[in-house]
């Protein structure tokens, strides 16, 4: 095998592209879970975002509108989840699983006419000066706008939860909805807002797959990315920084194993293909095994103001 065929600069550049869909979905889901809601429908919202974003981008010729439509589609799907779980008090696990099935089916239906079509993709957003840097310019600063948006989103979520009063209230609702209610906070309203945010993020993540990463529509193209996003949130102990690490690790190993396969590494292909899932989960388990598991105490519990 010829390891010299693997270019580290290209490897890191493609790592960032490869990780972005999962990063977007995971950071959205993290906010949802911080508010005390467990939405297992990430996969369904992602693939719906992927197909709607693709369809709109093909029809309008603008990938930007594709992303907007994908975010709206993800949010619309999550709205259904929110109404069912928050107002009708359905079981969150069952409803989330149902949402994934609905999303997968709906996306095949919508996507049938778009199979094999090509889409306009996002241009590279070259950052002046920085992108001219040797090595680092190409590695870090020559990506499309969504890569930067996802990173900014991670930082924004981190700061929101840590420093703002609204973020504190969101965390409080996730910790003890009864106490929050007793202090006069609108539990259901806050959770609905978090659910919609999570849905929009998952939709964006899906659209990034179909509009930039691949860029094409194929049925079932998310291939479990939504589930990996969910796992990353848990193993990252609900911390924005660790979600970033987890997503980039997964993206990195994905790209690396593809490169290794291309270089003809003497490892079974099946093992290489499984390696991103294995390594990401092992590493995050090791990280989360140390220190406190900061699962929001009200995660997955239905709230009903009975007084």
């Amino acid at each position: 095998m010829d390891l010299s065929s693997i270019n580290p600069v290209l490897l890191i550049a493609s790592l960032m592209v490869s990780a972005t869909p999962i990063l977007l979905a995971a950071i959205g889901e993290m906010v949802v879970e911080k508010s005390g809601v467990l939405n297992l429908g990430v996969e369904g919202m992602m693939i719906t975002g992927a197909v709607v974003g693709f369809a709109i981008a093909v029809n309008t010729g603008s990938p930007g509108w594709g992303f907007v439509a994908a975010a709206l589609a993800g949010a619309a799907l999550s709205l259904a989840f929110g109404v069912l779980t928050q107002f009708l008090l359905s079981n969150q696990v069952a409803t989330g699983l149902g949402l994934t099935l609905v999303g997968l089916g709906l996306s095949s239906l919508i996507g049938k006419p778009y199979e094999g079509l090509k889409t306009p993709t996002l241009p590279k957003a070259e950052i002046p000066l920085l992108s001219d840097l040797p090595v680092f310019g190409k590695m870090l600063f020559s990506h499309d706008i969504m890569v930067y948006v996802s990173l900014i989103l991670v930082a924004a979520v981190w700061a929101f939860l840590k420093y703002t009063r609204a973020g504190l209230i969101l965390r409080a609702v996730g910790e003890s909805h009864d106490s929050a209610h007793a202090l006069g906070y609108k539990v259901t309203r806050i959770r609905m807002a978090a659910i919609l945010f999570g849905g929009a993020c998952a939709g964006l993540g899906g659209a990034y797959l179909s509009l930039v990463r691949v860029p094409q529509w194929t049925e079932g193209m998310t291939a479990g990315a939504g589930w990996i996003a969910l796992a990353i949130v848990v193993f990252a102990s609900w911390r924005a920084g660790r979600v970033l690490v987890g997503a980039y690790l997964f993206g990195g190993v994905t790209v690396l194993q593809l490169n290794l396969q291309a270089a003809g590494a003497d490892v079974p292909v099946a093992l290489l293909s499984a390696s991103p899932y294995l390594i990401t989960i092992i590493v995050l388990v090791i990280i989360s095994a140390r220190g406190a598991h900061a699962a929001p105490a009200s995660l997955g519990r239905s709230f009903h103001a009975s007084h």
Binding site: Y163, A172, L183, A297
Partner: protein, 507 residues
């Protein structure tokens, strides 16, 4: 200083079937600690909920500094300067102290200023507390400090404290009292709810005593003895018990030097409890809630194991045996909490019957449940105890409190135990059902069982018991025959064993 801070007149609140507050009037002056005293169910909580805007009164009015005061919700009460420290805390475990304080404020300052304010207040009032600590790691006393500081930061004129010492260690109680005295000296009024007489005598300027929702008198606690206040609380309404001639059998349950550490930070340790119960006898154990009642029941039922030799059933040491073995041997129990302790809320009455009666009633064969037998057992309990339910398949949760109570007590009595211990057998049950439960306890004893009844209802204890003892801070007073006991002696027994010698002298 003549205008009272808060003046309450004719406040009435009725719930279906019970008048929680009946024409209650009293005044709280600026800068005084005013005690609200009464037994469980006397209407203390309803009254403070009305002041804090959680409950709207049916009749009567409140005036704050002479102006009408009718808060519709807690935030309106807070804006008028009323703050409340809850009995059950409203805190968030995973958040730190400063964040918890911020969440309870209407307009909190930025976090850094808030942390500084918390430090200042905690130093000023002698309530050491680090604003960056995570609340989940704090002790019960420290958690209460978080609530108190949350209140103090809003400069309250009236601070309501609902049984603040029930979760505190004696050292923490001292610290709390110093803080409250300092607040009083600064002109803050405190409404202090408790049923611990000594505390009120040490701390409060005035006391309003509630009994069955009515204001039965206001006094100056420091000028009254604990005994006098106990009499006001309990009242003289109950009929003096008559001696009952009874042939007593052998000793069935014997407890010797039962000592157990507190089960958790909120529990009470048991300290050297000893008593015997004979066949055909009912032993009544009184005392104010939280003095070891739950812990005693858990130790006797087998939920918690005690040192070998401390609990003897029919001459056999059962102290190291679990609940199932003790049930088989004939010792059954009925804990206080109906839903979640005595019965599994979401399971049917048949299933709940199986849970305690499986072995004793032969509902099992080769490890499988005989559902036919289980159903007829549940039906027997339902019929004999007149449990109103659509059928034995109904979930325990769906029954009204009184009916479920009849079922859980009946379930044990139908099994014809040799020894039965029940805690609060008629708590929250209407008068007819309560009378029925008491009669079945008496019938059980008449058939030769030994029964221990733990209750806070003295009338009930006087009605069913042959002998009476009181629990106080995990100790058991001397046990005396009910015949000839008067209210003063009972008050003394409940107040603590140290007063007992005086009682003997007086009697």
């Amino acid at each position: 200083m003549d205008t009272p801070l808060l003046s309450i007149s004719g406040l009435t609140k009725a719930y279906p079937g019970v008048v929680a507050n009946d024409d209650v009037s009293f005044d709280i002056k600026p800068g005084e600690i005013h005690a609200l005293l009464g037994e469980n169910g006397a209407g203390k909580s309803t009254l403070v909920k009305m002041i804090y805007g959680l409950v709207t009164p049916d009749k009567g009015e409140m005036r704050m500094n002479g102006a009408p005061f009718a808060p519709g919700k807690p935030s309106e009460a807070r804006q008028s300067g009323v703050a409340m420290v809850f009995q059950h805390f409203s805190l968030f475990d995973a958040l730190d102290v400063a964040e918890n304080v911020a969440l309870g404020m209407e307009n909190p300052p930025p976090m850094r200023d808030l942390a500084r304010q918390i430090r200042e207040v905690s130093e000023t009032y002698g309530l050491p507390l680090d604003p960056s600590r995570t609340v989940g790691t704090l002790s019960a006393g420290e958690r209460q400090r978080v609530e108190i500081i949350r209140c103090l930061l809003q400069d309250p004129r009236l601070l309501i404290m609902d049984e603040p010492t029930s979760v505190l260690t004696p050292q923490e109680v001292d610290i709390l009292f110093q803080t409250l005295n300092k607040l009083r000296s600064e002109g803050t009024s405190i409404l202090y709810i408790s049923h611990k007489l000594e505390e009120i005598r040490a701390l409060c300027d005035h006391a309003t005593v509630l009994r069955l929702g009515k204001n039965v008198g206001t006094c100056t606690p420091s000028q009254r003895t604990a005994r006098e206040m106990a009499e006001m609380m309990v009242g003289n309404s109950f009929a003096a018990p008559e001696a009952r001639a009874k042939a007593l059998g052998e000793i069935l349950l014997s407890v010797k030097g039962l000592t157990l550490p507190a089960p958790g930070s909120f529990g009470t340790p048991l300290r050297g409890i000893s008593f015997d119960v004979r066949a055909g006898e009912v032993l009544g154990l009184g005392g104010v809630a939280g003095n070891g009642q739950d812990e005693l029941l858990a130790a006797i039922s087998g939920e918690r194991l005690s040192d070998g030799g401390s609990i003897t059933l029919k001459g056999e040491d059962v102290s190291r045996k679990g609940p199932t073995e003790r049930r088989e041997a004939g010792l059954l129990s009925g804990p206080e909490e109906r839903l979640g302790h005595a019965a599994a809320p979401d399971m049917s009455l048949i299933e709940n019957g199986v849970l305690t009666a499986a072995r004793r009633m032969g509902l099992l064969s080769n490890g499988f449940i005989g559902w036919g037998k289980a159903r007829s057992f549940a039906e027997e309990v339902i019929e004999r105890f007149d449990v109103r339910t659509p059928g034995p398949g109904t979930a325990a949760r769906a029954l009204s409190g009184g009916n479920l109570q009849k079922f859980v007590v009946g379930r044990e009595i139908v099994q014809a135990p040799d020894v039965l211990i029940v805690n609060q057998p008629t708590w929250g049950v209407d008068a007819a059902a309560a009378a029925f439960i008491r009669q079945s306890i008496l019938d059980l004893a008449a058939k030769g069982s030994a029964v221990v009844v733990i209750s806070q209802d003295l009338d009930e204890l006087m009605e069913v018991s042959d002998r009476f003892g009181a629990l106080n801070e995990g100790r058991l007073s001397q046990i005396r025959d009910v015949a000839g006991l008067d209210i003063e002696q009972i008050g003394l027994m409940m107040g603590g064993a140290s007063d007992m010698e005086v009682a003997h002298g007086a009697a």
